[in-house]
Symmetry: C2
Subunit: 535 residues, 2 copies
């Protein structure tokens, strides 16, 4: 098992001398640590005789990473070691970001790797609760390590035979879990949920107006899109990118729980029609970013059906619940969607990034995006070129994001993903219960969480007696940012906050990290109290 000691050297005569010299160097300090200060990247593979050095170097890097992964899972470690941008820019304890003209030796490279991890944020730490993506899945990491060693591109079967088929299997599986029958369904993995949502609009537009591809928006009527006030900003952003204009995205009201109000959707559609616009697309959200709310999908599907509009479900965050028998009913009606965004890199804990857009109607993605470049998508290849999926994409080269998900699915099974999701939602319920019991906290909404989001204010003693009103709001608005600042300085915990509508800054806790336990939730509340009680 010890690569530094073993002698699998494939040295050409040219490389042999250097090889022996370096072998001596890497052995110098016995088994504990190799001396990389006289070795440079040019000595590694593909250099002649570079195999032993390559093994020794990557082994040492893996030692660093294994230590990091272990430490990240320990509660005694800090979540982050905060420094301001100017401190990092100027260099800290010899860690310099400057790019040199001359090469550094591999000892320095390893030091740089250690420093990079040291000054970073431990997103796998049990108390990293800052983002919808958190945790560090070991099988997922293994998948990524293999992905980078395989270093290939998703445009053709020719260069990615196994990964192209894995993508097909994963898409089919996800489509069947969404509830689509076997004879429909297409899709592609994308660089993130915003791009997946962008695809849904792009494809919907092409479905109704295929001439847009050639002639552009100038040839179309003024199209209207609909999404809820709690939905992700990617719908507006995509409308801007696609040349449709943000002002043509109509924002539908939500109830106090953050769910789109169907009657408001329908009256918005009717009003837009009266103004001469053509409503064509509704984005329903399954798991909103802040509240974790699920829009009423069946009611929205009915409205889309009545008005012949494309129904998209942004289940980037909520899609993971489909893996759980206990929670999947929250997405009832998703099978009626024409497209679905689902990010396994969120609730399913797959390393970043891994996001899928599923499209019900086959052929649309290809028709919408194909340009048929001869140099890449030759039709006279010796295999079935339907597997050259690259021309479905708005990208040319496309990173391979599927293997890690495939490997995790093998390692956990559908049931393992389900248990993981259940655990995160149990954490949310536990936090919700604790918050109800405590007098120093207030819930942003009183309902039991449907997803793993829990939103709350910490009320410091100085604010507890105040009457509701502008003065209290202004003071409360400053509490979360100040606690967050102290939290970052201390590095004990990381959780997000934001205002929303008329509600001043509140904390949003989200659970997607399988490392998080009830003891961390107790710590969260105690720590916020400790950091904020003098405010």
């Amino acid at each position: 098992m010890d690569f530094i000691q073993q002698d699998r050297i494939i040295a050409t005569s040219a490389g042999k001398e250097k090889q022996q010299e370096v072998s001596a160097a890497v052995r110098q300090n016995g088994q504990t640590l190799a001396d990389f200060s006289s070795i440079y990247s040019k000595d590694l593979l593909p250099a002649a005789g570079g195999e032993e050095m390559t093994r020794a170097f990557l082994q040492e890097l893996v030692n660093i990473l294994l230590t990091y992964i272990s430490k990240s899972s320990q509660r005694s470690s800090k979540v982050l070691d905060f420094h301001h941008p100017h401190q990092l820019r100027e260099g800290l304890d010899g860690f310099s970001l400057e790019l040199p003209d001359q090469p550094d030796n591999l000892e320095q490279i390893l030091v740089d790797c250690r420093d990079t991890l040291k000054y970073g944020v431990r997103t796998g730490h049990p108390r990293f609760l800052n983002q919808l993506s958190s945790g560090l899945d070991v099988i997922g990491v293994a998948g990524e390590w293999l992905t980078s060693a395989a270093n290939t591109n998703m445009f053709t079967y020719e260069v990615s035979p196994v990964f192209i088929l894995m993508e097909e299997f994963l898409l089919k599986k996800m489509q069947s879990i969404v509830g689509w029958s076997e004879d429909v369904g297409d899709g592609i993995f994308c660089p993130g949920g915003t791009i997946s949502n962008l695809y849904s609009i792009l494809v919907a537009r092409y479905h109704f107006y295929p001439e847009v591809k050639t002639r552009g928006m100038g040839a179309l009527p003024r199209l209207a899109l609909f999404t809820s006030e709690h939905s992700h900003y990617s719908v507006k952003k995509s409308a801007a990118v696609l040349g449709m204009g943000c002002e043509n995205v109509f924002v539908v009201k939500c109830d106090e729980r953050g769910k789109m109000i169907p009657v408001d959707l329908e009256s918005s559609i009717v009003a837009a029609k009266e103004k001469g616009l053509v409503p064509f697309y509704v984005n329903a959200t399954a798991g909103t970013t802040v509240y974790g709310a699920f829009d009423p999908l069946n009611a929205i599907a009915d409205i889309c059906h009545r008005h012949t509009m494309w129904m998209h479900v942004d289940a980037a965050w909520g899609g993971g619940l489909l893996m759980s028998d206990r929670h999947k009913m929250k997405l009832q009606g998703i099978e009626r969607a024409w497209s679905v965004t689902w990010n396994p890199h969120k609730m399913m804990g797959v390393p970043l990034q891994c996001s899928a857009i599923l499209i019900k109607k086959r052929g649309l993605l290809q028709g919408c995006n194909e340009m048929g470049a001869d140099y890449l998508f030759q039709t006279d290849k010796p295999y079935d070129v339907n597997y050259d999926t690259g021309d479905k994409s708005i990208q040319c080269g496309r990173h391979q994001d599927v293997f890690k998900l495939w490997l995790m699915w093998k390692a956990k099974g559908t049931e393992g993903f389900g248990s993981q999701v259940n655990k995160c939602l149990e954490n949310a319920e536990y936090l919700f219960d604790q918050l109800q019991r405590r007098t120093d906290y207030e819930l942003v909404f009183e309902n039991k969480p449907e997803h793993s989001n829990v939103c709350f204010w910490y009320i410091p003693p100085s604010l507890r007696g105040l009457q509701p009103g502008t003065d209290r709001d202004m003071r409360l608005h400053q509490v979360a940012p100040r606690i967050k600042g102290r939290m970052m300085e201390k590095g004990s915990l990381l959780i997000g906050y934001q205002p929303l509508g008329t509600k001043v800054n509140f904390f949003r806790c989200v659970f997607s990290n399988p490392a998080t336990q009830q003891e961390d939730i107790d710590f969260l509340l105690d720590e916020i109290t400790r950091l904020g009680e003098d405010l």
Copy 2:
């Protein structure tokens, strides 16, 4: 150094029993191979007491990857072991792509990793010459391994402090190499060159017509874009995505060497204006995909200046030459561009993916794309929020693609990248020289290569006496695909082919793989001859 033998166990009392059981299992076969058949992913971190098993599992995976990396660099290995899609779908020697309900044990997971690599394509092999991205840089792989262990997202400084600053340093360095002064320049790393090119059009459109963001293309005149007939299809694809319409992309003629003809550009611009269109954007290519041609940037810049048009340079492929003192003059005039696409994952050998869009005018990216989501981009944070670069992006979550490039730059220095580029271009010249000498090959164009692309036909004996004309063309058109098919079956080599304009299928050899030596080039020609001499 032996993780399986060492005992750094952090077990809670709950995990201890399982821990001891599994420790026995991983030790069962002594030092050589652990027994993972009774271990499951749930036994790994963050499970209590999962540290030893995590180390043992990742160590075994690394063994597999190190063997793969070593083998990929050996000429005696095959480049690929081809199977048809239906063979892989049905399962080969127990390798099944099906996704189970119940978890597989870690022994099976490791077998799956081995099989995935076995049936894949070795893109780091010295004889993989199929793509503009090839080779396997060990430092780059180390960078990717760290990236996946760090598993974070590029939207805010809060969660990616080090990587956000590395991106800033890299962008500034690349801008200075392009030739921009220190007081201009912005940019962002993107998921591939097509998306980088899409950004250039998006930002150019916003620069001239900021109202497009709100109002859409319907509020704008009919805009015209210009790109050469040899340029990448991403300009047309982006025009379709952005709602501008492919028919408004005007294709400018090239000379026999594949360079845009400036007078044809200018007359196209004038003609479009006469038809009532508004020309606003020119894409010049520095390193075309097939020929590797460099458009005359200064002449194009003059035309853009005269017509007040945005000049973009697609240097996705050619940008690497800027690292070489010997070759950078081929991009003279690039400093006059308003935006530049540059993919370090191509000529600089960085693992996929790593692509930058550089924008000369600061503030445009932010203005064009910002949506100011409160939950992510709070303005009341305890640090300089100008470092929260995520709102510049058309993505929300963004994969971290910069660390591997930063680490390679440290390890090679600017000069090391320069030598690597020089070596690839020397290979191209060597191939060009060999082709000139051989009677069984014909060059597609006679000029010495400017980049590392070399385009040629193999002429089998049966075609050598034929007169130029349709009959010969039709037969020659079938030669490259048939040789390619045999090459894939045999697995000895991988090189691309395509037709272009009136030219029938020809081979395009590209060198970006630092593993490739002259002996591989000799092998390439001999092997093509062997595979094709009976055609």
